[in-house]
């Protein structure tokens, strides 16, 4: 039993990578630590459950990384994906710290493995967790428990008592035991974004948000973020921004994770519910294209689209969870997708007629392109003409949101007046917007979580001692 009458040195709200790194580093620094995870034990860890790797800088190849990835290269990649929307000082600090995280996280029980099959492009930059994100999380929890960190599940925080930027206590609500006031000298907020809060998403996306699928657990509701912003913490990041990819429309509303994704866009065309193409499917190589299609589909009527291809390319991409929908003719396929058959036939006929001869190579920006149609398909364009014709229905799959709390290099929250909070820290998705103003690079969310989690825990422990 956890003694909730005592005053803890550090209270960590959240239960993912950032929260556990904070709890472990605070505990290792000698602090007493309580972790409040709002989800039940099985769903602990928010989006960390679904992750698989982390992007860390390193000066030489390691056992599992194929070559060096310097701080400068990491910084340039970040600059590229964010279009400059990043806090350079914080970002460079994070990148520098990420080098040591490669080892530190192993000391916390996490194990690495070489990049997974089908992810060769990440073999040099990203370290993969052996067994995936939940295995990583399990290791962190085991370590935290061994160190004597107190952990509660189904522990919903319904209010924060904050005065003049100083955290005093949290109102805890549990299924058994009811409400309790939890006191602590410092607070680490690591409770993620609000991607599972459809009502909140609707503020920016309107009714379209009803058609969004959420890739993580239903527990990422942003309650802590909302409380902090309401109590004077400075915000950062565009609230309308979220990381969205195209995922199978047959996926569950929540927690479908990585396996519902589709990366077959380049091998065919994508049409909306009017059976019309709406964007260049051959614009760019993975992973850049991967991250834009969620938003593209979100902008289409009813937030639905269909990737259409033919039987010649079925084995060109990873096997999918849901089988493609098949038709012996375009009209039959259109019928199954409930699309207008004549319209789909016209779209495909026009597309096929526009395809220019070329040499197909999906690993480079090849010379297979269309001419004379709008939008064009600028690479990898090949005729769709070999039945059966196949399709995947896709919808926007929301991974995480960008709105967060402003922090400094100590991971300490900044208040609206620009002053640092007396005793409040933030780590992980809840402050990712400091580094990641927009866009995404694979594995960077975990880097943000581990680096700032570790820093937040250390600083909170130091703060509690003073």
């Amino acid at each position: 039993m956890v003694d909730l009458t005592r005053r803890f040195d550090v209270l960590v709200i959240g239960g993912g990578n950032a929260a556990l790194c904070a709890a472990i580093s605070a505990r290792r620094a000698g602090a007493s630590v309580l972790v409040l995870e709002g989800a039940p034990k099985f769903y602990r860890g928010g989006n960390t459950r679904h992750t698989r790797n982390m992007r860390c800088a390193h000066d030489a190849a390691t056992e599992i990384l194929t070559g060096p990835y310097t701080e400068e290269e990491f910084w340039n990649d970040l600059l590229l994906v964010t279009g400059g929307q990043t806090d350079e000082q914080l970002a460079r600090f994070m990148i520098h710290e990420s080098k040591d995280i490669l080892n530190w996280i192993v000391e916390q029980g996490v194990r690495w493995q070489p990049s997974l099959g089908g992810t060769l492009s990440l073999g040099r930059t990203n370290s993969f967790f052996l067994g995936g994100g939940r295995a990583m999380l399990n290791a962190l929890y085991r370590t935290a428990e061994e160190l004597g960190v107190d952990i509660l599940y189904d522990a919903e925080v319904i209010d924060l008592n904050i005065e003049h930027g100083m955290f005093l206590s949290a109102q805890l609500k549990q299924p058994v035991g009811g409400r309790t006031e939890v006191r602590a000298s410092t607070l680490v907020a690591a409770a993620g974004g609000f991607e599972a809060n459809i009502e909140w998403l609707k503020q920016y996306w309107g009714e379209a948000a009803d058609n969004f699928l959420i890739r993580g657990t239903p527990y990422n509701r942003g309650a802590i973020l909302k409380m902090l912003l309401a109590k004077g913490v400075q915000d950062i990041g565009d609230p309308t921004q979220c990381h969205a990819v195209a995922i199978d429309a047959r996926a569950p509303k929540f927690d479908g994770g990585i396996i519902t994704r589709h990366d077959s866009v380049v091998f065919g065309i994508v049409v909306n519910k009017h059976a019309e193409r709406f964007y260049d499917e051959g614009e760019d190589i993975w992973p850049k294209r991967y991250a834009i299609w969620g938003r593209l589909v979100a902008a289409q009527p009813d937030q639905i689209a269909y990737i259409i291809f033919d039987s010649t390319v079925v084995t060109s991409f990873m096997p999918t969870l849901f089988p493609p929908i098949a038709g012996a003719t375009i009209a039959e396929l259109a019928g199954k997708l409930e699309l207008d058959a004549a319209a789909l036939e016209k779209t495909i006929t026009d597309f096929n007629a526009a395809v220019q001869p070329g040499t197909f190579d999906h690993t480079i920006l090849d010379d297979c392109r269309t001419e004379g149609i709008t939008p064009p398909k600028t690479h990898w364009a090949r005729k769709i003409e070999t039945p059966p014709y196949l399709a995947y229905p896709v919808r926007p799959g929301i991974t995480f949101t960008y709105l967060g709390t402003r922090v400094n290099k100590q991971s300490r929250m900044l208040m609206k007046d620009g002053k640092p909070s007396a005793n409040m820290f933030a780590a992980g998705e809840i402050m990712a917007g400091n580094v990641l103003g927009k866009g995404y690079a694979a594995g960077i969310g975990m880097t943000i979580g581990s680096v700032f989690g570790r820093v937040a825990g250390r600083e909170a422990a130091k703060n509690a001692r003073n």
Partner: protein, 367 residues
């Protein structure tokens, strides 16, 4: 469509796993899965027998129950594995022995023990059964050596034949041409992988059994059991060679090779099965194929009885208890031999064959 509901479910899971692949580094099952996009019955039986049931993929899976995807690979493959034993059993008429295996094995064991006791009593007068016999050839006063050798040789040969026919069916089902000479390299790799239980370690940290704390206990107890069994078998072989080549008759002195091997093996075969049973007892029910509990328990108990009766015979061989103990030990061993093709023993055979196949596949992929 697959032949059984279990294989249907295994196919569903492999489709889920193949679109995720996070568990790729944990064992041999997932890399083998990744070499395929669709799964035949044979493929699934191959994967099922490749699985060592370490449980890591269940603990690590973000989609395991209560998640709606309900991904429970260790349990599903355990069920598929047990069903594959019955499917490959030879002659097929005996495949039913797997369904109520605990009962079948205990009946056969009890009958064999009774047969030996009555047999001893019938050919000899009662005084011989409970008499004290010492010196070379003491055992054979109860049963002539040639009769013993013939009986056990026949039982062993039958077991080998039935197992070979089962392996043939399995080998064919997983798509390998029958009679193909397996290359030495794959065979050697499989011997190494099986010998060190390479894939019973959760990808390096150990197995998951009763909770999410990895441990190496199951591996350790299995080593005790397996190497104990091998030592006991070696003891029997050396004894047979002594008899026919050197004309030296049992019982042998405590320092003689057959006794040393048998005693070491017997000790391993006491510690190992007790450990395995206790691990099985504690095991998280979510990972367990409840249907196969009887089969698992029966086999472990038979091994335990083999060693315990053997050790008892060693201890009391110079007393009046020798006759009944010899009947007990021979009865248990006889039952163990003839039920080998129809119980948990086959897991080692099929898993080894699957490991050979895996080593071959890996090699072919590398080329």
């Amino acid at each position: 469509m697959h032949g059984t509901r279990t294989l249907q479910e295994a196919d569903r899971l492999m489709t889920v796993c193949n679109s995720c692949r996070y568990c790729e580094g944990l064992c041999a099952v997932f890399p083998a899965m990744e070499m395929r996009r669709a799964f035949s019955d044979g493929d699934l039986n191959y994967l099922a027998n490749l699985c060592h049931s370490c449980g890591a993929c269940y603990t690590d899976c973000q989609f395991s129950p209560p998640h709606e995807f309900n991904v429970n690979v260790p349990k599903t493959l355990a069920v598929a594995r047990a069903e594959s034993y019955a499917a490959y059993a030879w002659p097929h008429a005996f495949s039913g022995a797997f369904a109520r295996n605990g009962l079948v094995i205990s009946l056969i064991a009890a009958l064999s023990v009774a047969a030996f006791i009555f047999g001893f009593a019938a050919i000899n007068d009662r005084g011989v059964l409970t008499g004290i016999h010492t010196g070379p050839g003491a055992f054979y006063r109860l049963m002539p050596h040639n009769v013993m050798a013939l009986l056990f040789g026949a039982a062993l040969l039958y077991a080998i034949l039935a197992l070979a026919m089962g392996v043939r069916a399995f080998w064919r089902d997983i798509g390998e041409p029958v009679g193909m000479t397996t290359d030495a390299k794959s065979l050697l790799q499989a011997v190494r992988d099986a010998g060190e239980l390479r894939y019973l370690d959760g990808g390096g940290v150990g197995c998951f059994n009763e909770d999410d704390q990895p441990t190496d206990r199951r591996k350790l107890y299995h080593h005790f059991t397996f190497y104990g069994f091998l030592l006991c078998f070696a003891a029997t072989c050396v004894g047979t060679l002594y008899h026919y080549l050197l004309a030296r008759e049992a019982p042998y002195a405590w320092w003689d090779l057959p006794v040393v091997l048998g005693t070491l093996g017997g000790v391993g075969l006491v510690i190992g099965p007790i450990g395995l049973l206790s691990e099985k007892w504690k095991r998280d029910r979510a990972l367990v194929d409840e249907q196969a509990r009887g089969m698992d328990t029966a086999f472990i108990l038979m091994l335990f009885l083999t060693s315990i009766t053997g050790l008892a015979l060693l201890l009391w061989r110079e007393s009046a208890a020798m006759g009944p103990l010899l009947a007990l030990h021979l009865g248990v061993v006889f039952a163990l031999f003839i039920t080998m093709p129809y119980g948990k023993f086959v897991h080692g055979i099929y898993r080894f064959v699957a490991l050979v196949r895996y080593a071959r596949e890996r090699q072919m992929m590398a080329e």
